[in-house]
């Protein structure tokens, strides 16, 4: 185990670090958008939309991410253009977004449910319409409770972005496998990878922990 294994391959690690960062950011954005749509469907009064969202959530969160990734990357191109010409990076982002959207949806839904029904009733009793009730009373309170769970999903997403390594997308894990193969010094190579992951997950974890304590007190 030599430190030079890491320092000599620093450019590889940095390239991977940027890849992981991009996957995480785009995956988070995608899952937030899709998750919000799904959550709206799940709390909506429209039965078919509710059922559709429920099936989506139950399917996606019970499907292992590596399985989802290969299914998307090698399966969906069969649908033809323009889907066929998506890059593998795009597929990795899509897999991450689709998978975590199921969890974002559930976090948002339980956030809305966590707001006491009396709040809505009080809003209506002073004459607010349904959209007003939602935007002015329920959602601001729901948002507060969902920030920590969303933070935890972000951490999970950062770690899960390693799945991209299985479909030839440059990220920390993929680069580490090259370093292991090149140097035959797995311990140092893996320690290097761990360092770069911790650089991302630890600060987010600390931040979420603080937010968690703050919202816990304010309620």
């Amino acid at each position: 185990m030599q430190l030079s294994t890491i320092t000599d391959n620093l450019d590889l690690y940095l390239e991977g670090f940027v890849g992981t960062l991009q996957l995480t950011a785009l995956g988070a954005l995608g899952s937030l958008v899709l998750g919000t749509v799904l959550a709206t469907m799940r709390v909506s009064p429209v039965p078919t939309l509710r059922a559709g969202a429920t099936v989506y959530v139950e399917t996606l969160r019970n499907c292992p991410l590596p399985v989802l990734a290969v299914l998307l990357a090698f399966g969906l191109p069969k649908l033809g253009e323009p889907i066929r010409s998506f890059s593998f990076f795009t597929w990795a982002v899509l897999a991450l977004a689709l998978y975590h959207a199921a969890f974002v949806c559930e976090a948002l839904r339980s956030g809305v449910n966590a707001v006491a029904p009396g709040q809505g009733e009080a809003a209506r009793s002073i004459g607010l319409t349904f959209p007003q009730t939602m935007t002015l009373v329920v959602l601001p309170q729901a948002f507060r409770t969902v920030v920590p769970p969303l933070g935890n999903i972000l951490i999970a997403l950062t770690k899960n972005s390693a799945v991209a390594a299985t479909i030839d997308v440059t990220d920390i894990t993929n680069q580490t496998e090259f370093v292991i193969n090149d140097t035959i010094d797995p311990l140092a190579a893996l320690a290097g990878a761990a360092f770069f992951y911790l650089l991302l997950t630890l600060p987010t974890g600390l931040l979420v922990g603080r937010l968690e304590r703050r919202t816990a007190f304010s309620r």
Partner: protein, 291 residues
């Protein structure tokens, strides 16, 4: 859970975990088999150790038609597998096969996970620095596979701007970078993914040793074809731990033995011979001086 003693439960769970492996694991082969004509080796040698263990641990490919492919029945078949069987026969033991994907092969040998690697494993100088090779026992060359209806690629010189797929940690993946510097490279862990991606038109060509490509084409003769001449020489060797000269000599002697008595040719006919008519002669064993 109503258990009063959680620690005991925890210990019990650990025991369950151990038991689960004890009864599972790889298929246990009785070492008594074939003991009748076991050759004897110097005590302390790798050969003696393998005989003691009763099994030869072989790392091979599980996804390469004709060389090492795992069928639906769960058996591995192919030329590499046959060569490993013949070596095991010479030791008087049975072989067990574990999958060694391209990028795992060197760590696999170094860590001692396997005794030998016979996995379409090209002998080259870079690898010689970390592992030793016996052989070669087969020589092929790098080539290209494209979609059958694709007439734009006729050889490696037509690859500029094309997407070319290969496997991580393999020599063809390295060489294509210099042979076709303008090609866009995609690397997966197995060739099956490359073939599927090419069917999907996500990549335009697959490059690796011609022998492997012919195997892939044999699966889908209507969809794929091999084009152009080979542009390298790939001698397949048997990888073993660096510095084990006695074991390497034994492996080289064994190869020469099976060249002479026709077992090598028989194994080749039964596997590669299924799709290739003019089969090569056995190559000369290269007893290079390990650095």
């Amino acid at each position: 859970m109503t258990s009063r003693n959680l620690l005991r439960t925890a210990a019990g769970l650990a025991a369950v975990a151990l038991a689960a492996t004890a009864c599972g694991g790889s298929s246990a082969l009785d070492s008594g088999d074939g003991a009748s004509d076991k050759p004897s080796f110097a005590a302390g040698s790798t050969m003696a150790r393998i005989q003691q263990a009763g099994v030869l641990k072989v790392g091979t490919k599980f996804d390469q038609p004709l060389y090492g492919e795992k069928g639906l029945s769960g058996d591995v078949e192919g030329f590499d597998v046959e060569i490993a069987r013949l070596i095991a026969d010479e030791l008087g033991v049975k072989p067990t096969f574990t999958e060694a994907v391209s990028k795992n092969r060197e760590p696999f040998i170094q860590n001692g996970n396997v005794d030998i690697v016979a996995a379409t494993y090209t002998i080259n100088d870079k690898r010689k620095l970390v592992v030793d090779f016996a052989g070669p026992y087969y020589v092929t060359g790098q080539s290209l596979m494209v979609r059958k209806d694709d007439d734009t690629i006729k050889g490696k010189d037509d690859l500029a701007g094309k997407k070319v797929c290969s496997v991580e940690g393999s020599t063809p993946a390295e060489r294509i970078k210099t042979e076709a510097p303008k090609a866009v490279i995609t690397l997966f862990d197995t060739y099956g993914k490359c073939a599927t991606a090419m069917e999907n038109k996500q990549v335009d060509a697959v490059t690796t040793d011609e022998a492997i490509l012919l195997g892939l084409v044999s699966k889908k003769p209507d969809a794929f074809k091999v084009v152009g001449d080979t542009f390298s020489e790939e001698p397949y060797g048997i990888g073993l731990k660096k510095g084990d000269q006695a074991f390497r000599d034994f492996l080289n002697d064994t190869l020469e033995k099976i060249y002479e008595d026709g077992r090598w040719e028989k194994a080749l006919k039964a596997t590669v011979g299924k799709v290739q008519d003019d089969l090569p002669k056995p190559p000369a064993v290269d007893r290079y001086t390990a650095s």
